[in-house]
Amino acid sequence: MSDLPKWYELPPGGIILEPGSSLRNKTGSWRVIKPIIDQDKCVRCRLCFLYCPDAAILEVDEEYTTKAGRKYTVTYKVNYDYCKGCGICANECPVKAIEMVPEVA
């Protein structure tokens, strides 16, 4: 903490002079359980993407073929930098393709 700016080095009143600096606040560090998406069970319904309160589900243009041979053109991934582990995605998933796993065993 001693390497942080001194009181007189900070802009007054907590003003943030640099737009978008909140990206540097990696809120994923708060997480105690993390979502793991089973790409073979996932039916690409997009509900996790829509429900995530932190926009931490990424919709990636990445092809995936399931073990059963079904081909998808998109893949859903978790942005662990900002996922707080709330579990809403796992709760909403209609095919139970998301499992919440403890960060520390």
Binding site: M1, L4, P5, K6, W7, Y8, L10, P11, P12, G13, G14, I15, I16, L17, P19
Partner: protein
């Protein structure tokens, strides 16, 4: 220079004296909600706006919480702003008071001080402002319509001083001053703007240079911003003294952060604020006729508290009484200003006998004779070297 200025005197209540000051300062945005005994301030400003005498946006809001929130937004956008309230209105504003000071916005607000419910009292005391003393606002208490007018003008110079950037409250006694008409020499717009030029000295919201205001801070950051406020408040004392001195040079009137009356050879003194000081001065003259060497110290700047100045002004006084117009229930001694005066003396070498007087609660009348009695009590304390140890409730039926 002062002689060159055209002397224009109007018969004004302190409420109207505030409105005329705001008019002279070319304020951009005014938001307020009516509350007795402040209402005349914004009523007059609305009249000025309707007549095209001021070029200000009047925002009629649904509560005092919104009034201060609205001027915070306007101030953040770089506007010169004003609001006014009293009593329950100031209480309803309470959380926003901290936001205004924490965001370091130079907002000016006038308070026609009034007691707090329950039971309901529309009459005067200082319970409302005493509740707001730790909100990070600079706080003045004035004692005449002229001084109230002048102090609102000084308030903008202090608030907008780059070393300060804090909101300022100008408090005066509800009814006793807010509704009493006195002759006031009105400062003209041209002179007011020469004294307090309109210049955005504080960081503002600007689409070309975007910033974020009102952010959240984690434990790693919050403390430093509060310490910035501590240092700004210390600077505010110097800024208030400067603003008063320059005002005197330009307009031929100034008041000091604290005013002494017959203190030079006083053995006992009363510390008062606001309109009480006027009665106390008359009483000091009367007490001297009755053989008590009395003096008065009127505290004009309450936040930041000018402790060194007060200790110095009372350095030859043996007994000091503090007259409080508010009660701090359950405090070591129930007078809020008393506790601060006691604190100021505890860290000095001079230790006069101290006494706390509570008076004027809910505008209970306090007469010259009541003040004379206080001076006489102080003389007794000075003789015995012992104070009463607890607050004396002047005029309560007991």
């Amino acid at each position: 220079m002062a002689q060159q200025l055209l002397k224009k005197k109007l018969a004004l209540s302190s409420n109207y004296a505030v409105a005329y000051a705001v008019k002279a300062l070319d304020v951009d945005v005014i938001a307020a909600y009516p509350i007795t005994p402040q209402t005349h301030v914004v009523e007059k400003l609305s009249e000025f706006a309707a007549n095209g005498e001021i070029n200000a946006e009047m925002i009629h809001v649904e509560s005092e919480h919104s009034a201060l929130s609205a001027v915070i937004g306007a101030s953040a956008a770089g506007a010169r702003v004003f609001t006014a309230t009293a009593s329950q209105g100031l209480a309803l504003m309470h959380e926003v008071l901290h936001i205004a000071s924490g965001m370091r916005l130079p907002i000016v607000m006038s308070i026609a001080t009034r007691a707090l419910s329950a039971p309901i009292s529309i009459w005067n005391d200082y319970s409302d402002v005493m509740n707001a003393r730790d909100t990070g606002w600079v706080i003045y208490f004035t004692s005449s319509a002229q001084e109230t007018h002048d102090t609102v003008i000084q308030a903008y110079r202090v608030a907008e001083n780059p070393n300060v950037h804090l909101p300022v409250m100008v408090a005066y006694d509800g009814y006793i001053m807010s509704h009493t008409v006195e002759p006031v020499e009105v400062v003209e717009k041209e002179d007011a703007l020469r004294y307090a030029p309109k210049k955005v000295t504080w960081p503002r919201l600007d689409p070309d240079n975007p910033v974020t205001m009102g952010t959240i801070t984690s434990p790693d950051w919050y403390y430093e911003f509060k310490y910035q406020q501590v240092m700004a408040m210390r600077e505010a004392l110097k800024a208030a003294e400067e603003a008063d001195r320059v005002f005197g040079e330009m307009f031929g009137r100034n008041y000091g952060v604290a005013e002494g009356f017959m203190l030079e050879d006083a053995e006992v003194a009363l510390i008062t604020m606001g309109a009480f000081a006027n009665t106390a001065k008359v009483a000091a003259v009367e007490a001297r006729k009755q053989g008590v060497k009395a003096g008065v110290l009127r505290l004009r700047l309450y936040r930041p508290f000018p402790k060194e100045k007060i200790v110095e002004m009372l350095s030859n006084v043996s007994a000091v009484g503090v007259v409080d117009k508010a009660i701090s229930f359950g405090a070591p001694v129930e007078g809020p200003v008393f506790n601060e005066v006691a604190g100021a003396f505890y860290s000095s070498d001079h230790r006069p006998v101290l006494a706390s007087f509570i008076a004027g609660i809910g505008q209970r009348t306090v007469l010259v004779d009541d003040f004379v009695s206080m001076f006489k009590k102080l003389q007794e304390y000075a003789k015995t070297g012992r104070g009463p140890g607890e607050s004396i409730y002047v005029g309560v039926r007991a």
